[in-house]
């Protein structure tokens, strides 16, 4: 902390005191995060994609999955002013598709992670607190979900259930599947962290000094296990986006909603002549995944109390 304030040295000690007191754990974490160039770049990328996702309905010149360019006689055109990312052979405006796909993929990536984190915390916490039978059963359940190859399972489930869901809910289904099958890592982390933190002396000390059960859990245990959960969740968003792209690319996703994977799939047959159809959604995927990974890395450094100076 000393290093930060070197440039504007406080004139009196009193001033320094108030400054220090205001430095909550989050402020300290943010200050550390800011110093991490890669993390900051990642954050910029993530915010950029979030902005695109929110504004895509207004930014995109064409509605989702619209083959209008075909009727305008613009199918299969290379990037131009009218079609910044070109058009596909079937008349999709790639620029519009990438923008709409941003919304779809962020929705899946963030939503699936939220579901996985909630399930993972509940199961991991229950496994960490309880002893004996229940703990073993929950641990085994997590291991089963961790061991089974997820992609084929999700592909199969998506194929089966997509027939059943109403049109427009296909992406939500993919999101649910990714979340419901992808919580095991979070559960392991939460369980392990609770086992670690629960035995630490400051937990016993606060118990010995009269802290209530809820205070111990919510003030001393949860915040101390949150760091790895936040970091893993950020990395999980990247993973979920990538998996969604794969599912859509393989044709198992929602074919009525714009996603990056679907656009790549459309273009892959013509990649030799119309490279732009694959390249732009591919780049979007690359940068989104990179962005979230960089943020995750930055967070893991910034939130580690042992690394605070």
């Amino acid at each position: 902390m000393e290093k930060d304030t070197k440039s504007d040295v406080p004139t009196t000690q009193e001033k320094k005191v108030t400054e220090r007191r205001e430095a909550s754990q989050w402020a300290v974490a943010w200050r550390r995060f800011k110093r991490n160039k890669a993390g900051l770049a990642g954050l910029f990328i993530v915010l950029f994609f979030v902005f695109i996702a929110i504004t895509s309905p207004w930014l995109a010149p064409y509605p989702p999955r619209s083959y209008q360019s075909l009727y305008e006689g613009d199918a299969g055109q290379s990037p131009s002013l009218k079609h910044p990312f070109g058009t596909s052979n079937s008349g999709l405006d790639v620029y519009s598709e990438v923008l709409h796909g941003t919304l779809g993929d962020m929705y899946v990536g963030v939503g699936a992670t939220a579901i996985a984190v909630i399930i993972g915390i509940v199961i991991g916490a229950a496994a960490g607190y309880s002893r004996g039978g229940l703990s073993d059963v929950l641990l085994m359940l997590s291991q089963i979900f961790y061991t089974i190859p997820l992609l084929p399972l999700i592909l199969l489930a998506a194929r089966v259930f997509l027939i059943l869901v109403a049109q427009g809910f296909g992406l939500t289904l993919i999101m649910l599947l990714l979340g419901v099958f992808g919580w095991s890592t979070i559960a392991f982390i939460v369980r392990g962290e609770i086992l670690r933190v629960r035995e630490l002396e400051y937990i016993q000390a606060s118990r010995a000094l009269g802290a209530s059960r809820s205070r111990i859990i919510f003030r001393h245990i949860v915040p101390n296990i949150l760091t790895p959960v936040i970091v893993t969740a950020t990395l999980l968003i990247a993973g979920n986006i990538l998996t969604e792209v794969v599912i859509s690319f393989l044709g198992f996703g929602d074919v009525n909603t714009s996603t990056w994977g679907l656009t790549i799939q459309e273009g892959v047959a013509y990649i030799r002549t119309q490279w732009w159809v694959c390249i732009f959604p591919g780049l979007a995927t690359l940068f989104a995944v990179l962005g979230f990974n960089l943020v995750g890395d930055g967070l893991s450094d910034a939130l580690n109390p042992r690394l605070r100076d």
Binding site: K16, V17, Y202, A205, R207, L209, G210, A211, R306
Partner: protein
């Protein structure tokens, strides 16, 4: 002397998958008002578990299965969880072994002190609690308390952390403090300072002290009376001075011999073997496999606790015939 805390026949067992660990197996213990008592033994002798039992915070799968714990005439084991919670920290308090982990790394020193203060005084504002926290830091001799309240534990040295842990334990003015190995993990010079501080605070705060330690030097320095535990059972109870001079239990003698002396040129005597497995403790006297004076009866009969001529309580079949060396 007025009795503050009285433990009778305490049994605290741990029900592990490997079997029942009899960590504390029938221990009596008393602390008088303004008294400093040492609770001594090797790791695993049951001294910390005895302490935790008083607070009723024995970690899972441990359980108090027998005995009574009376504090100021009230039966602590009969209290509801909520009543017990109000006693912890306010009336009886504890500091823990490892100062590096006994403070929560996420909160500033001030926050952690204020938390304890406000836990027991609901109507105090955060600002008042912070001011009180600074006073507490002053009390434990921490320089520039107004700066320290804003610092995180990782910014402090081990000795400072232990002082803060002590300040936190004293935040609500308890009348009895359990100090569990307060000087492990500290430099020798810092150890002396921390002990001096505890000694002083005991007088200024008018509180009783239970010193949980394996260090006979600390016992001599800090306490008036000592209880020696071995493998979850009482070995000897005596006035500190008398215990050092005339130990009446072979384990006490062995502990005293194991203290290095700078004024005597002789090889340090160690106690052979380890503390026994408490799932299947040795039959008879639990110390007999390591005892140099053991005879057949020791493995057959549990020695009763007897009052010796010089006022010790000892659990040895041969206290009458043995002449043990003290220091």
């Amino acid at each position: 002397m007025e009795t503050l805390l009285e433990i009778k026949g305490l049994k605290t067992y741990f029900f592990t998958e490997a079997g029942v660990v009899k960590a504390v197996d029938g221990v009596d213990f008393q602390v008088g008002k303004d008294e400093a008592v040492g609770l001594v033994g090797e790791s695993g002798s049951g001294k910390t578990v005895t302490g935790l039992s008083v607070f009723r915070i024995v970690p899972q799968p441990g359980k108090i299965i027998a005995g009574t714990i009376t504090y100021e005439g009230e039966d602590l084991l009969a209290k509801s969880d909520e009543e017990m919670r109000k006693i912890r920290g306010r009336k009886i308090s504890m500091t823990f072994q490892d100062p590096t982990t006994s403070l929560d790394p996420l909160y500033t020193v001030g926050d952690q002190l204020a938390e304890v203060i406000r836990e027991h005084q609901k109507n105090i504002s955060k600002k008042e609690a912070m001011e009180k926290a600074e006073k507490l830091l002053e009390m434990v001799r921490i320089s520039e308390p107004h700066l320290r309240v804003g610092e995180y534990p990782h910014e402090l040295s081990g000795g400072m952390k232990q002082r803060i842990a002590i300040a936190r334990a004293l935040a609500s003015g308890p009348s009895l403090l359990f100090a569990d190995e307060p000087t492990t993990n500290l430099d020798v010079t810092v150890q002396a300072q921390v002990l001096e501080l505890i000694k002083e605070l005991r007088e200024t705060q008018k509180m009783s002290l239970v010193m949980i330690t394996h260090d006979m030097g600390i016992v001599a320095e800090m306490t008036q009376r000592v209880e020696v535990l071995y493998a979850g059972m009482m070995a000897e109870v005596a006035e500190t001075h008398s215990l050092f001079k005339n130990p009446q239990h072979p384990y006490t003698e062995a502990l005293l011999q194991a203290v290095p002396r700078i004024d005597q040129r002789k090889t340090l005597r160690v106690i052979p073997g380890n503390i026994p497995n408490l799932i299947n403790p040795p039959s008879g006297c639990r110390f007999h496999p390591r005892c140099p004076y053991a005879k057949d009866i020791c493995s057959e009969k549990v020695p009763p606790l007897e009052l010796t001529d010089n006022g010790h309580l000892t659990a040895c079949h041969f206290w009458r015939s043995l002449s043990l060396t003290g220091t």
